[in-house]
């Protein structure tokens, strides 16, 4: 799994590529938490277009990121949900908990 972070004036985009499982999820968690605690970032967009598999540890990283972002009054949004990640979030009844946007620009734009 690869995590690339692009910084924009409106916030940061965390581009994730590859499977998110117990081996790789600590890297995703670390990246999101670090950004969430950075008060200068108004928005964090986690782009999962390149992710077709995410397990419960990956979901846990997203939830922790969301909680931390809320604590620091930062918005955390998800973009590019493929079938696999969407299935997991739906099954765990978390899909509506997250702010899911159509694209990076839609997430950064409004």
């Amino acid at each position: 799994m690869q995590v690339n972070i692009k910084h924009h004036a409106e916030g940061a985009v965390v581009q994730v590529t590859g499977d998110v499982d117990m081996l790789s999820s600590p890297r995703l968690r670390e990246a999101i938490l670090e950004l969430a605690q950075d008060c200068a970032k108004a928005r964090i967009v986690v782009n999962l277009e390149g992710v077709h598999y995410i397990d419960s540890s990956g979901v846990a990283s997203l939830v922790e990121g969301l909680q931390t972002a809320r604590r620091y009054r930062t918005k955390l949004m998800l973009v590019g949900l493929n079938e696999g990640p969407r299935d997991v979030l739906q099954l765990t009844r978390l899909l509506d908990v997250f702010d899911v946007r159509a694209s990076d620009s839609a997430a950064l734009g409004d």
């Binding site: 081996l23 598999y53 397990d55 419960s56 846990a60 922790e64 969301l66 696999g84 997991v88 765990t92």
Partner: protein
């Protein structure tokens, strides 16, 4: 799929992707269908992750055996380990949408398979996951309807 696939891996998370690929291929061979395949791969991955993290406490050198077989009307995946005794089907599972970090693995296992079963034999834990094949699922629904 005739016969069965029987492989050994170490309790190292680097093997997880290979295990998922193997189980995915077995699901495709028996034409399980896209949704049920994703569900079976997810359940097996969660069961394997639990073994690595909890049963073996993060020790990456312990043995895990994965068996995939087609039985009458279903695909079965068995995960064998020699770690601490743990029945994933007998635990209390917290609501998955509680906003806490972890703890959703057992929920995902139990909600992704048609049947699950745990046994401890000769020092091995055996977690069996079962997913009905599409024709069998239809037949079962019809039987239920008729009854």
């Amino acid at each position: 799929m005739v016969g069965e696939v029987d492989v050994r891996i170490a309790s190292d998370p680097r093997w997880l992707k290979l295990a998922r690929t193997l189980i995915d291929e077995c699901c495709q061979i028996v034409s399980l269908g896209a949704g049920p395949t994703r569900a079976m791969v997810m359940a097996a991955n969660e069961a394997l992750s639990n073994v690595m993290r909890h049963a073996y406490g993060g020790d990456r050198t312990c043995p895990i055996r994965i068996v995939c077989r087609r039985t009458s009307g279903a695909l079965e995946v068995e995960i064998w380990d020699r770690g601490d005794e743990f029945d994933p089907f007998a635990q209390r599972v917290p609501p998955p949408d509680e906003l806490r970090g972890g703890g959703r693995g057992l929920f995902l296992i139990r909600s992704s398979v048609d049947e699950g079963e745990y046994a401890r034999t000769s020092g091995w834990n055996r977690t069996r996951l079962r997913k009905r094949l599409p024709g069998e699922a239809r037949r079962e629904a019809l039987r239920g309807h008729a009854g």
